[in-house]
Symmetry: C2
Subunit: 342 residues, 2 copies
DNA sequence: AGGATGTGTGGTTACGTTCCCACATAGATG
DNA sequence: CATCTATGTGGGAACGTAACCACACATCCT
């Protein structure tokens, strides 16, 4: 019951084997297969044929060792189980693959230590670049010191120049809150994750901007900040409803929207007659529950694609000016928002 | 506007630098840092301190070249955008990271060509093992010939001995259909993806088994097979309802369940009074719509974790007997299933 | 006393690739 | 005719690491 059949091809075939087979030097074989440098057409043919025949697979580690860079891009996101980050990774992977790069994917649970560990591993494997949803600036510093190109996605954090793609959180949040204000709501609660990230800060800003534009003061007691995975989130939302009587809630990410929704269901609150709800990030369920949830939709996959494209560009042109792309979200109005009760 | 600050550390520090700094030979430095072989306690301390001080990061490509194996596990799944595969990848990544492996993640869109390309890349980078949701046997053959350990997850395909983790699809499907039969349904339609994978085959089998156990003949016209991303899926489901009047539908994956659900909604069919629905894979929305969808829940993240654990075991003990784990799904009964209309 | 055995160290090679360099030939240019 | 450029080829030195080997010295056993 031996699982390893003592491999039919004990040692993989190397460039030297190909060269011998085709009767050329190793140098020529390398040129023919890598496509760099002169090599006569017929000789190239002969070498390619030999490589094909022997099933040659170039040794990536030897290439990396020599060239001091690999084809493996490092990607680190906050939470792989969250559908948003999953979509992000999907977009990144797809674009990288089309450009013949591979993706090493790491989840850091929003912990700076994990982020740094991942980045260390990336440096060890000589990644040509890194894409990250930044947690702390240490990781970025490490990469910058080594001259490794970085693209920030979903939020900005860097204190050094680097590329980035984010969505316009301020505008997304402002439109959401304006929508509620237009419906006559004046006590609009904000549920948001307690970070110093630009994503969350932008959503808070948009909330404030909408109020300011309507010449309304913000009641700070309506702003609730949550840690990442807060087991007491639903309790706190319940408490908010009891003590501060909002007529609408703007939940600044998909998880908080879901939790708010569950609280409403548990308390028997009807959307939108008893209370209105707007979410952020148009995940699957928002369009399936009834009434549907009004949501700020963000182009998740596209966000990933753009990040990958930016990185590839940066790898090809290391000295180009840093680019910062801003993708536009859009408000999807569904049945969860309606006129404020009087 | 120069983005690359001409790296503060032009060339990364190597083992030789550490050895010089600590006044030992390179060999000793290697032993101290890798932890293999003898080295005096005080000398080890000195070397570790030097490494820390100089910010030493071992060169993974050099290690891989020398050791002929890397710490990067190759993972290929069918569709990264699908939440099921996302969860699978999340479970795998988490477990690999705990064991100090990294994950290269590739999506193959269920195309054999992409799968093979991914596997080629894995071989080039000397992955110590590969986890895949298999599409065709060619990829497996390639890996097996090279003696690379493989773990199949979600479905079995290999014609060579290898480890695998799947859930008990037959039982999951049987329980789902038995539940419907107990409710008095006799015309139960089956929606299933048209593959030769054990996952789908198992679900069809479970469907048949339940009928057989109840001494009922299966009406073959109630079994609908779909290509992967079938844009006409909803039309076909609609047609099924019109022409074959099922009183219940068993949708054998989360996507088909969603499509069936949309068709019901579009046609104004009420669950469960007009028709009953059972899905497979307990994704988020099934518990949020009303009525909730009765579903065969599978432990997705755990599936990934097990696969990774199996691979790690195989890497450590290459000659152990192949292991084939079977995880149990369980039926979550919600409001979408009720007595058959008469 | 003489060999095992265990501990500790350093020299050297090999892993598979790329790329610099030297060199060769041919045709074009002065 | 001498020189230049373009094209083509092969030799050989790296890249950074791990591991084999030789060697040195203790300690322990017979």
């Amino acid at each position: 019951m031996n699982l390893q059949p003592r491999r039919n091809e004990p040692q993989p075939v190397t460039l030297a084997d190909i060269a011998r087979e085709a009767g050329t030097s190793q140098s020529t074989a390398s040129r023919a297969l890598s496509g760099r440098g002169y090599v006569a057409a017929d000789v190239r043919e002969r070498l390619l044929a030999a490589a094909e025949r022997l099933g040659y697979v170039p040794d990536a580690s030897a290439q990396t060792l020599k060239q001091k860079t690999s084809r493996i891009v490092g990607v680190v996101v906050s939470d792989l189980e969250n559908h948003f980050y999953g979509g992000l990774a999907a977009g990144i992977e797809q674009t990288l693959r089309e450009a013949d790069y591979r993706m090493v994917l790491v989840g850091d649970n929003s912990e700076s230590g994990e982020e740094i560990a991942a980045v260390r591993a990336f440096m060890a494997m000589k990644t040509p670049g890194v894409i990250l949803t930044p947690v702390a600036s240490d990781a970025m510093t490490l990469l910058h010191r080594r001259g490794v190109p970085v693209v920030e996605v979903d939020r900005r954090l860097a204190n050094v120049p680097c590329d980035g793609v984010v969505i316009d959180n301020v505008r997304g949040a402002r439109e959401a809150v304006e929508h509620l204000l237009e419906l006559g709501h004046r006590r609009i609660a904000l549920l948001v994750v307690d970070t110093d990230w630009t994503s969350d800060a932008g959503r808070v800003q948009g909330y404030r901007d909408a109020h300011a534009a309507a010449r309304l003061a913000v009641d700070e007691s309506l702003i609730l900040r949550f840690p990442f995975h807060d087991p007491t989130a639903e309790e706190r939302i319940s408490g908010l409803l009891e003590r501060h009587a909002p007529t609408a809630i703007f939940a600044a990410n998909n998880l908080l929207a879901e939790q708010a929704w569950r609280v409403f269901r548990a308390r028997g609150l009807a959307l939108p007659s008893d209370i209105s709800l707007v979410g952020f990030d148009d995940v699957q369920w928002t369009g399936m529950v009834s009434p549907g949830i009004t949501t700020v939709a963000q182009p998740t996959i596209e966000l990933g694609r753009r990040a990958a494209r930016l990185l590839i560009r940066r790898i090809d042109e290391p000295h180009a000016d840093p680019v910062h792309e801003l993708l536009q979200p859009h408000l999807v109005v569904r049945g969860s928002t309606g006129p404020a009760p009087r």
